[in-house]
């Protein structure tokens, strides 16, 4: 029922759709994206549920206010009922009813927190380190040894300078593209370990429903599992003010099939072995 109404909401948004095709972000431009993971869809469903509950309350409360504004006007000869100053019964009702509504929202919310915090049985772990202003991705588990930095792509970097004279609309995925995206397999539970080497950053991909701070001295965890068949490029940004170039450290994730992912990992290892620098870089960062 709610999902149906939600999709009506989403469908009507299609009329507004502008430039959304420029990125794989599945947001319609004015609502959360449903996303491509079980968590992001659960978050979207809960978001719409709470939204419609709020709309329902708003209809009742604003309805009563607007009715008062129209009906009880002095200019229409309304006589004030000055005896109406207190009613214990009514006040108890409008204390209890909101409590019930809040419990209705809190129970599924607590259930979803349990799912979000369940880090067990991940198939791939990647350490994500925030720097001013780039991300470092260090793979562990099956892809152990793959390690690289991810920074804003050059064309965006040229266009974003003060008075660059370059029209941002002419740059593909302006501010949302990097030189080397994070590459992950679909259908695998990916666990990220987040930390930072300088200030607090936050790693965020809306379509995965995954956002968590990267804090120096701490290791935070999140997980996501992109549905098989939803391979593609997904984009997000640093979500915690991290200094001058906070707006210029995008997060880009390239989701591939497990087979393609394995090929990519092998290619990375072969390339690294060819240069002969694989070991020093990775052993230092290995958390195991």
């Amino acid at each position: 029922m709610r999902v149906t109404r939600a999709s009506v909401f989403t469908a009507s948004a299609g009329a507004f759709c502008w430039n959304a095709a420029a990125s794989a972000n599945t947001s319609n431009g004015y609502n959360l994206p449903e996303g491509v993971t079980s968590l992001s869809r659960a978050m979207f469903a809960l978001h719409m549920e709470v939204f419609w509950i709020c709309v329902g309350i708003a209809v009742v409360v604003f309805g009563a206010m607007i009715y008062s504004l129209l009906k009880f006007r002095q200019s229409r000869g309304a006589i004030p009922d000055t005896s109406m100053v207190h009613s214990t019964k009514v006040e108890i009702i409008w204390t209890i009813v909101p409590v019930i509504i809040l419990v209705v929202m809190a129970v599924p919310a607590a259930d979803l927190i349990l799912k979000q915090e369940d880090m067990r049985d991940s198939g791939l772990t990647i350490k994500v380190t925030g720097y001013q202003w780039k991300w470092q991705y260090s793979y562990m588990d099956a892809a152990d040894g793959v390690n690289f930095f991810s920074t804003l792509k050059q064309d965006s970097n040229f266009a974003r300078q003060l008075d660059s004279g370059i029209d941002p609309h002419s740059v593909p995925n302006y501010l949302l593209d990097v030189d080397k995206p994070l590459i992950v397999p679909s259908g695998v539970k990916v666990r990220l370990l987040l930390t930072s080497m300088d200030v607090i950053h936050a790693w965020w991909v809306p379509d995965f429903g995954a956002k968590r701070s990267a804090i120096p001295g701490f290791v935070n965890e999140i997980w996501f599992k992109v549905d098989a068949g939803k391979e593609g490029i997904y984009r997000g940004q640093c979500a915690a003010l991290c200094g001058r170039d906070h707006g210029y450290m995008p997060v880009v994730v390239d989701v591939r099939t497990p087979e393609q992912f394995k090929e990519w990992v092998d290619a990375q290892r072969a390339a690294a072995a060819g240069v002969g620098t694989a070991t020093p870089a990775t052993t230092a960062l290995n958390l195991h």
Partner: protein, 532 residues
């Protein structure tokens, strides 16, 4: 005005019933009305300085790409806009209203501690001179956000010491102001005015004052630790030295959340004064309104974690802070329902203060709804640090706190000056403000949900349209506020006509402030009124 008590209280002659002349009247002011006026004028100036910074922000965000300022200066603007608006505009405005109205509402001749009152005001211009002058030192003004999170804040240059010293001064000023409010209310109420007979505005301020005394020292402690980390080699928040950057966030938000209510509880008090007057009907459930304010104040101490869900928190803490935060909706709901019930079966008229109070009622409630959504932890991960949060807190602060302050000014300005302002201009100010404030902030909900992070100087092109709409709203809202100044200056200079003691005699104003002449005499209630 002076004549009715001058005759029988001859020993009051040395008190000067007329204000002293010249600059000395303001520098050495001990009169609660003069100090209240200075607070309000100071707040208005800061409102325009902070507003000018907001205009820079919205002008840069008008379209994608960087056209006007570099990212570093943009961050200075967002940071300073918040600090100036919170500590310079909203809080001093409420203190100014408290100074003016608390003695008048409880039948006291003045605030209890007039010299401390002078001191607490005159600290403020110095604090803000220091803060604002950091814009001109090497490295510029604070740029790490008003929350001053380390390690980012500590990367700064000279501003670190300047901002921290300014915050210390503001805190000292707030604490002194609060002590004054509490002592005045506890000791100087007219005979017969027990606490439950006290007007709601005084009640909301009494509770706010306790909140201020509780949390301002916490902020002072937090920023002092920043200071020693930066200059004296300590490692309170430095992970490399065994410190904990998250601890700052905990300490800061233990101050920060009550601070949020410090900026809204007096607004609740103001709305509870204005709605009954122009509904011609007593406030519905006045006692439960007081309990609701007290409950909100209590809850404000146990919800700070909801600012930090994204920073990683144990499961139990996430659930606890979600529940406690949602619980705030209950007393807040009681207030909104009671205000609605106050209008129900009333006889409403729509003078400017009532218009602003009604806009508050609707738009603050919208901010309440987005607040409930933000409390839902698992979805907060999507909302947090986006423009959805920006939309939420601006809805509760601008059409919430700021509209309540404007409602209060339009309500009591005739009492202060003895003149009625141009209601036509005030109505124009109201309609322009209300339309533009929604054009400004409502699209920011969409931007946040669509994935635009806050505090960025430039954005991906799919966010262009709503940003342009929002910026147009901002320019319109900013320009509309010039009308507010015109209305106030016209009124202070003589206005449309003289008003009676009751001012709103067509409506049903209650309270002692309406029993004294307009303008309120320089010394009011030298003989305490009797409350039946």
């Amino acid at each position: 005005m002076a004549h009715d008590h001058a005759a029988d209280t001859a020993h009051h002659d040395d008190h000067h019933d007329q204000p002293p002349s010249g600059i000395g009247r303001w520098l050495f002011a001990t009169n609660h009305k003069d100090i209240g006026t200075m607070y309000l004028v100071f707040s208005l100036i800061m409102f325009f300085i902070g507003g000018a910074m907001a205009m820079v922000i919205r002008a840069e965000l008008f379209k994608p790409g960087l056209q006007l300022v570099d990212p570093g200066f943009f961050n200075q603007m967002t940071t300073m806009h918040a600090l100036v608006m919170i500590f310079g505009a909203v809080m001093p405005a409420f203190v100014g209203l408290a100074n003016w109205m608390i003695p008048l509402q409880i039948g006291a001749p003045d605030m209890a501690l007039p010299r401390m009152n002078n001191f607490s005001f005159w600290i403020m211009p110095f604090a803000f001179t220091i803060l604002l002058s950091s814009l001109f030192v090497p490295g510029g003004a604070p740029a790490g956000g008003w929350t001053m999170y380390p390690p980012l804040f500590l990367q700064g240059g000279n501003y670190v010491a300047m901002a921290i010293f300014a915050v210390h001064l503001m805190g000292a000023s707030s604490i002194m102001g609060s002590i004054n409010v509490i002592v005045t209310i506890m000791n100087m109420r007219a005979p017969g005015m027990n606490l439950l007979k006290m007007p709601l505005f005084c009640w909301s301020w009494l509770i706010t004052a306790y909140l201020l005394i509780a949390v301002m020292p916490v902020l002072a402690g937090a920023v002092t630790m920043l200071l020693t980390d930066h200059y004296f080699g300590t490692s309170f928040f430095n992970a490399a030295g065994g410190g904990d950057p998250l601890m700052f966030e905990h300490v800061f938000w233990f101050f920060g959340h009550p601070e949020v209510y410090i900026m809204i509880l007096p607004a609740f008090g103001i709305i509870s004064e204005i709605l009954p007057t122009f509904s011609r009907k007593p406030l519905f459930g006045a006692t439960s309104m007081i309990y609701a304010i007290a409950s909100i104040a209590f809850l404000s101490f146990i919800v700070w974690g909801h600012h930090m869900f994204v920073d990683g928190m144990p499961l139990a803490a996430q659930v606890f802070f979600m529940m406690s935060t949602m619980l705030i909706a209950v007393p807040t709901g009681v207030k909104v329902f009671n205000w609605t019930a106050t209008m129900w079966r009333g006889s409403l008229s729509f003078e400017p203060p009532m218009l602003f109070a009604l806009a508050f009622l609707f738009l603050f409630t919208i901010g309440g709804f987005s607040g409930v959504m933000l409390a839902i932890v698992p979805v907060d991960f999507q909302y947090n640090q986006t423009y959805f949060v920006v939309a939420h807190f601006h809805y509760v602060l601008v059409p919430g706190a700021v509209f309540a302050i404007m409602a209060a000014v339009y309500y009591w300005l005739p009492k202060w000056t003895g003149n009625m302002y141009s209601t036509r201009l005030a109505q124009t100010h109201f309609w322009l403000s209300t339309i533009f404030v929604n054009v400004l902030f409502f699209p920011q909900h969409f931007l946040g949900l669509a994935g635009m992070p806050r505090r960025i100087p430039d954005y991906a092109v799919q966010f262009s349209d709503w940003n342009m709409v929002s910026s147009i709203g901002a320019f319109g809202f900013g320009l509309s506020q010039l009308l507010f100044v015109v209305v106030i200056i016209q009124c202070a200079r003589g206005g449309k006509q003289k008003v009676s003691a009751e001012v709103w005699d067509g409506a049903a104003p209650t309270g002692l402030e309406w029993t004294i002449p307009s303008p309120a005499p320089y010394h009011s209630f030298t003989v305490a009124p009797e409350i039946k």
